[in-house]
């Protein structure tokens, strides 16, 4: 009997997801034994034309990591959707935009200016922006067009499953692949999260949690946290309460706040939920203070919270209620 076919693709991503898959250790041999790899640019030499040559639905399992940042990403998203029976948004970029999605806080023009004009170490190529079409003696060269707005995979094509994480934890990947290999039925497709928990990270976090009253926020370098005590209580913006479990609360256990890479819980907006939770535990001054004084006290605490957008939406901006900043049209 022919082995089921397997593909993995990277769109706008850092490559960490690929590493994480390889990090499942000797189980990678099971993957090789159980699947026939038909497309995996990171590890094997396949061309896009090979994929185009496959019949529709030829790929049994396709792990797609990376956000949709340019025309090439989008093209491959449509292509792989067509060719795959089961398409998995693998990792935070494909699921919710992740770090590439933070580009939605600015514009391409500004990004290009930073890289090619304002950057101090750029010399030879200053002001020479990449062009979609370049003429060289050998003929014309086309590169993908950079989109103004970064999107998650499911904002471009329907996705069957989501494996969250930046990157997904190896043991979670292993468990999903094991399940697929052994034929354990997956939940009905339709964008369901698999390979993760259904409760927030705090569930898995062994740090002692007390009633919270935050009087000041700290950035990670500003504070050596008290061991054994909830980091949020100590003023580190630990995203654990608003983040899906599944990672085993690895970061908070070693004194690093959860950054929220497993994304929101079902149907929630991670940043909005966390912000509203934070708003509820900021020390608002005493009851003897009048409203103006309390507002000042709250503002003083909130002023210590650096980079709110990058803190609350580090991973989920592209997929959130916010999506992107509005950019004024030129001349308005």
């Amino acid at each position: 009997m022919a082995k089921p076919t397997f593909a993995m693709y990277w769109a706008a991503s850092c490559g960490g997801c690929e590493i994480s898959l390889l990090n499942i250790g000797e189980k990678i041999l099971d993957v090789d034994a159980a699947f026939q790899v038909v497309f995996w640019p990171c590890v094997a030499d396949f061309k896009y034309s090979d994929v185009e040559g496959y019949p529709d639905g030829y790929i049994d399992l396709c792990l797609f990591n990376g956000a949709i940042r340019n025309s090439e990403n989008e093209e491959l998203a449509h292509l792989l959707r067509r060719k795959s029976k089961t398409l998995v948004a693998f990792g935070s970029c494909a699921y919710e935009g992740c770090a590439p999605g933070l580009a939605n806080l600015t514009t391409n023009a500004a990004t290009m200016r930073t890289i090619y004009t304002d950057c101090l170490t750029t010399d030879e190529t200053r002001d020479r922006l990449p062009q979609p079409l370049s003429m060289v003696p050998e003929g014309e060269i086309r590169i993908p067009v950079l989109y103004e707005t970064v999107r998650a995979l499911d904002q471009v094509v329907p996705v069957d499953y989501i494996i969250p994480g930046c990157p997904p934890e190896a043991h979670q990947i292993a468990a999903v692949i094991q399940a697929v290999i052994s034929g354990v039925p997956l939940p009905a497709p339709g964008g369901k999260v698999i390979g993760a928990g259904t409760v927030a990270v705090c569930e898995e976090c062994p740090l002692a949690k007390n009633v919270k009253q935050i009087t000041r926020f700290y950035r990670p370098y500003e504070l050596v946290p008290e061991p054994g005590i909830c980091l949020l209580e100590q003023g580190l913006v630990c995203m654990g309460p608003a983040t899906r479990s599944g990672c085993g609360a690895l970061c908070p256990q070693v004194g690093m706040r959860c950054e929220g890479c497993y994304g929101p819980l079902d149907g929630q907006d991670q940043g909005a939920r966390m912000l509203s939770a934070i708003a509820s535990v900021v020390a608002a001054g005493g009851p003897d203070q009048d409203e103006a004084e309390q507002e000042h006290a709250i503002a003083a605490v909130m002023d210590t919270l650096a980079d709110p957008a990058g803190t609350f939406y580090r991973f989920s901006l592209a997929h959130s209620l916010l999506r992107r900043v509005r950019v004024a049209e030129p001349g308005t």
Partner: protein, 688 residues
Amino acid sequence: MSPEHADRTRGSPHGAPGAEQEPRVGVYVCHCGHNIANTVAVDEVAEWAGGQAHVTVARDYKFMCSSLGQELIEQDIKERGLNRVVVAACSPHMHEKTFRNTCQRAGLNPFLFEMANIRELGSWATDDREAATQKAKAQVKGAVERAVLQRPLDPLYVDINPNTLVVGGGIAGLTAALELANAGYHVYLVERDSSIGGHMAKLDKTFPTLDCAACILTPKMVDAENHPNITLMTWSEVLSVHGYVGNFSVRVRKRARFINEELCTGCGTCVEKCPVRIIDQNFEVGLGYRKAVYRNFPQAIPKYPVIDPDNCTFFQRGKCRACEIVCPTDAIDFKQKDEIVDLEIGNIILATGYEQFDARTIPQYGYGRLANVFTSMEFERMVNAAGPTAGRVVLRDGVTAPKRVGIIHCVGSRDKKYHEYCSRACCMAALKFAHLVHERVPEAEVFNFYIDIRAAGKHYEEFYHRVLSEGAHLIRGRVAEVTDAARGPGEEGQLIIQVEDTLIGKQRRIPVDMVILMAGMEARKDARQVANLFGLGCDFEGWFTERHAKLDPVVTMTEGILIAGACQGPKAIPESVAQGSAAAARVAGMIGQRTMKMEPVRASIDADSCSGCRICNNLCPYHAIVYHEDRRVSEVLTALCQGCGACVAACPSAAISGAHFTRDQVMAQIEGILWDARQPEVLWLEPA
């Protein structure tokens, strides 16, 4: 937003009520006479609503709250099989109950009713007919979308504890306590001071009848002390309030009096023999003295004195014990400790009163700098026969009778710099003072400086004319300053009142030798803390907020917490008494029901989704959230929850939801309101 969000408004499985019934919504747009119909095209809204999804019938009608309007709804529920009702009319504060009852009468669960407030939030807020109509449509759409997702809810019933706590032993609290006690219910009357009686106990005469204040107040005080249904707790303060209507747990601290009340006969020998004499800033407002062991006044209730350890020689230096030596019944107990008392209470009446505006705040009137400028409360004590001057009207030297007295109205009141409101009682008190000066110092001339004379009350205007006929000079104008800097002959050694007499249109300088500042009423300094303690609202000035300014003046937005007297706003004695009685009647009515129906709008935590982060733990103003250390989950105690939603909003993993305000319902309402909003423009660069 995820795709699941998007289809919810389009009649997805979420949308079906109880999943077995198609939603059939009736929409009723109220004209409210001209109130709404003048600004909103009600017929257009109704016609449009009729074409919207889920809507079975849509009508507009002159007065939906009338019996005919309500019958319309009942009829449609029965004949058209409506299973949801939306009324677009006034605020739910006004008529939500009305229409819920309408639905209930027709056999529809009252929580399947939704109100869209197109009056306060629409027609009253603008003259723009088109905009108001458009907004009304959005509100109706939001209400329909929300109603579709509503679930039937059953009311909760709680038992009402028949005991009542009255906080404040002034005339309002005293009246409320006596009314309830006479009705046969037990009352705990907690007073911060050492005696009940409040401000009224300091007064000499009351306007306009010139009744002796003590003569009408002390019998009530004695009644309260002797009443078998009243537990008097003076020198006491409420520390904490937990629970909810019908079932409050209240902790009270009884401060140590250092007098054994069982043994004390109130003979007063200790007071007499105490060698320490200090200025009484409280009861005598700085005009008289008291001892370190003292009673506010001879008729104080209870009669037991208190020892003030800050000034008592024994407490300060470990010596003296004069009171202990002279006490015939060995009632002095220096070792007495504060006592904590826990009470189980059904309803709470706050009658915590007011404070007098600090006249020092207005430096140009000279109080505290110019000796013969007095506050109105100082003058009250001065004219009181039991006061520091035994009723003689004298200058600060204690012997000279004044020849010319200026009474300045509206000190701190009706002034945007201090308090914009009118303190209500001061005009009449000022006229009473004019009368009393004439009575006590017949040769003296009296000048009243007023903005307007506010003599609205039974026999008030008549009293004003009586004072005029007694020869008081009334000068209309706000006083610019009171100064002792003489400018001309006749002004030396006098206090000069500089004022524009607005009736003759001239600046005047009136020399007097005594000035009385009619300092207004303001909310107590700690009103906001008290409001937080009892969970009720305060307005900007610190007055407690009633549920409805006209129709529900003694009830607050917190069930079971009532207010009476000047803590709600400036009041004279008759209004305070009326409110005390009104609050007592409301409480008696509540106790009479024995059980009470409560809104089932409550939060609950899905234990499976709770990660135990404890963010919600200290948010609940009703202390309804408990944390189970063993299971590492939090829980909302339904009986304590008041449905405010603070925890629902705060829960970072959305494990807490509020019945009748679920996330689905709220999101559906928002999406309904935004029915015609443009989709956000996504900047989008197509591939070349």
